[in-house]
Symmetry: C2
Subunit: 428 residues, 2 copies
């Protein structure tokens, strides 16, 4: 019998470690000059559950945002997209429990008023306040929770890790746990010195997850002195490789929002796209996004496994991305993983169905580094060994199309009874 | 309160009734000159379960076929596609229990040998015998069941409704019931007279269903004297509007095959695409395909509902089709229906995510003829009335994009716990 080698998967971009960034405390408040709060405002009917988050910079600072491409976009997306385009902001108010989507002019007016309340309390211009919402679609957002929650959140703003954690808690919907992370590292300067920079953030997301040019709600921050153009470039590049490579259920939300605050409090020279320090800061932002994106896939509604799909040997980047998404969104592949079944036939069928051309007898497939298909034909499988590998919380599928040198990686999760329960029983 | 009217859905094309065709007995044997058999050959390990079907014309006759576009196509698809291209055939042998997919040259040789066995027993050329398989992917097809089953099937060939029914039984996999239908009607001739024609067939299919240019296994027949070109045109047109408008789980099979035999035994003039009788016969074939396609959606793995998605007011046919498929494949829409939840927010989000441009404030949505969204804003809903409507085995969703005059209709089913059970537990 031939000795088949596993496919060689391109190294995962552990962008933070590669650039010497190490984990630190603080989440969205790790960056100097950032404060946060999470309070019980009353958007939700669960007593004591935090449902309003406020994130603020000590002063108006650089800001960049990216938002859903869904044609049905929510009122806060319309408002925040326009304001973030200016490149500066002071704060962002976020709520869970109501998405303020499909709510027309009254919804837009509620979004505007919520930012005015925050602006008054902080003493800034309402144009410098962004807003995001998540929850039920098509129900007018009650305004009373803002009137109760915004003063409490402003009064409670803190620079501590605990404050950041409370904000991360307040945006959760079907998430089973809050999702936050932060790193610190040295950013090189033109004169050869370095400046210590922090990058962190939180996000929420678990269902209606196939972000497209944005993610579910996510607030990131850094104290690196990024210019508005550099902040936008670094954010878009990071989101493209992280949140946009996640799918839970192929359903793109109406409310996807990802915002980056850059306070500049770390000091040092202003960082433009061509600056010495740009690559390092951009990598750290990507590292934060990668961490959060994996958390979203891993916490996909009802999931029991984080699934990484690697496509290799594609004739183009587009081909690699389309095949990866086709496999990651296949209900048959996702239920097979739930059943601990290395069902390469379903992987092959999902790759073959999406319009990308290849020769089926040039295809190789691995499940968790075990070759199961070579040149389109199945290999004998040690079922006991494979079942043991399925005990891991992470499952990796790799497929080489044998057509070229392009590759793509996407994160997803399995499809389980709990997904059906959660979503077949959401309103009742 | 305004009085909102339900969306006006384009009339369903009840092609058979429109052209005066009425149901008759006989399934694939309703057409004069067609015989069938279904026997226990041993592809499956369930005692007494029929797993080999044979369909034959009394003589070599006109034949047309359409097959999966999946790049991973099975050996019988490769063989039958080439043979059907000739426009004539005598018989088709079908098995369940093994798909003969990803089986390489040995798989192709098994497919060839199976047709040779049939040809010898029928006394025809092997080139005039087609083959189709359905079942597990990636396992070599055992040949012994053909050696046992083919002689039994040839000996058992019958022209009766019972024989047709046994063939329909033998191709079932996860189907909960056999799917067959037949109609008869009058086809006009150039001289003003008419000829009585029969059209019928069977199919199987329940999972890995998003046929693309073909369906799961389906064998159709008519005794109308179609030319090869007319048979091919009528089959493609019918499949495009029927089987290709079904999705159970967005997964296109490796084995999709749909074949039409036209025996000509009804008599009358040869029917070309321009003939007086062409439209009538083509409509009857579409009627048969529509019936079978609805059965496939309705019997989707684990389903409790047949779901019809109607998209209206699209700017182009392509836009209408893409939005219809996006809604029909949305796990959130499908689980909502399982939960008897008229969750128009998920329908709106699925319409908005797929790259088709529209103004969200021009969109209307109905659930089962009840307006729930007008001009992008929700209407008050009588929840009790809606729950009563969800008791029906059929659920209809209609959405108008307000952009133009194109429409599309697609059939699907809900996403349930049983789908996860069936597919999370397929091999174990």
């Amino acid at each position: 019998m031939e000795n088949y080698q596993p496919l060689v998967i391109p190294a995962a971009d552990d962008a933070c470690a590669t650039h010497g960034f190490v984990p630190c405390k603080g989440g969205v408040c790790a960056a100097a000059g950032m404060s946060a709060a999470g309070v019980v405002a009353g958007f939700r009917h669960e007593p004591g559950r935090r449902d309003l988050a406020l994130v603020a910079s000590d002063d108006v600072c650089v800001c960049a945002g990216t938002f859903t491409t869904n044609q049905f976009c929510a009122a806060p997306v319309i408002l925040s997209r326009a304001r973030a385009a200016g490149g500066h902001a002071r704060a962002m108010v976020l709520n869970s429990g109501n998405a303020n989507a499909s709510t027309g002019e009254p919804g837009l007016e509620n979004a505007r008023r919520s930012t005015s309340l925050v602006a008054e309390a902080l003493g800034c211009d309402a144009e410098d306040v962004l807003v995001a919402s998540t929850g039920v679609i098509g129900v007018q957002l009650p305004f009373e929770p803002y009137e109760k929650g915004v003063p409490a959140a402003v009064a409670g703003l803190g620079h501590s890790p605990e404050a950041a954690h409370e904000a991360a808690l307040a945006v959760m919907t079907t998430d089973t746990h809050p999702k936050e992370v932060s790193f610190k590292g040295e950013v090189p300067q033109a004169d050869g010195s370095t400046v210590t920079v922090h990058v962190g953030g939180f996000c929420k997301g678990s269902g209606m997850i196939q972000p497209n040019m944005a993610t579910m709600l996510s607030v990131l921050s850094t104290d690196a002195p990024l210019s508005p153009v550099a902040a936008h470039a670094a954010l878009l590049a990071a989101v493209r490789e992280s949140f946009n490579k996640v799918t839970v259920d192929s359903d793109t939300s109406t409310n996807d929002t990802c915002v980056l605050f850059a306070t500049g409090r770390a000091g040092g020279e202003t960082i433009e796209e061509g600056s010495v320090g740009y690559e390092t800061v951009a990598a750290a932002i990507l590292g934060v996004c990668n961490h959060l994106a994996r958390e979203v896939a891993s916490d996909g509604e009802g999931s029991t496994k984080l699934v990484t799909v690697n496509v290799l040997g594609a004739a183009s980047q587009g081909d690699a991305d389309v095949v990866a998404r086709s496999i990651a969104n296949s209900p048959l592949v996702k239920t097979a993983i739930f059943g601990h079944d290395a069902n390469w036939g379903r992987v092959a069928a999902a790759a073959g169905k999406c319009g990308v051309e290849f020769d089926q007898y040039g295809v190789d497939i691995d499940f968790m580094d075990v070759p199961v298909l070579r040149a389109g034909l199945p290999l004998p499988m040690d079922e006991d060994d494979m079942l043991r590998r399925f005990e891991s919380p992470e499952v990796t599928i790799a497929i080489s199309l044998g057509q070229g040198s392009f590759s793509s990686r996407i994160w997803t999760c399995d499809l389980t009874h709990d997904y059906v329960t959660i979503n077949g029983d959401y309103r009742t």
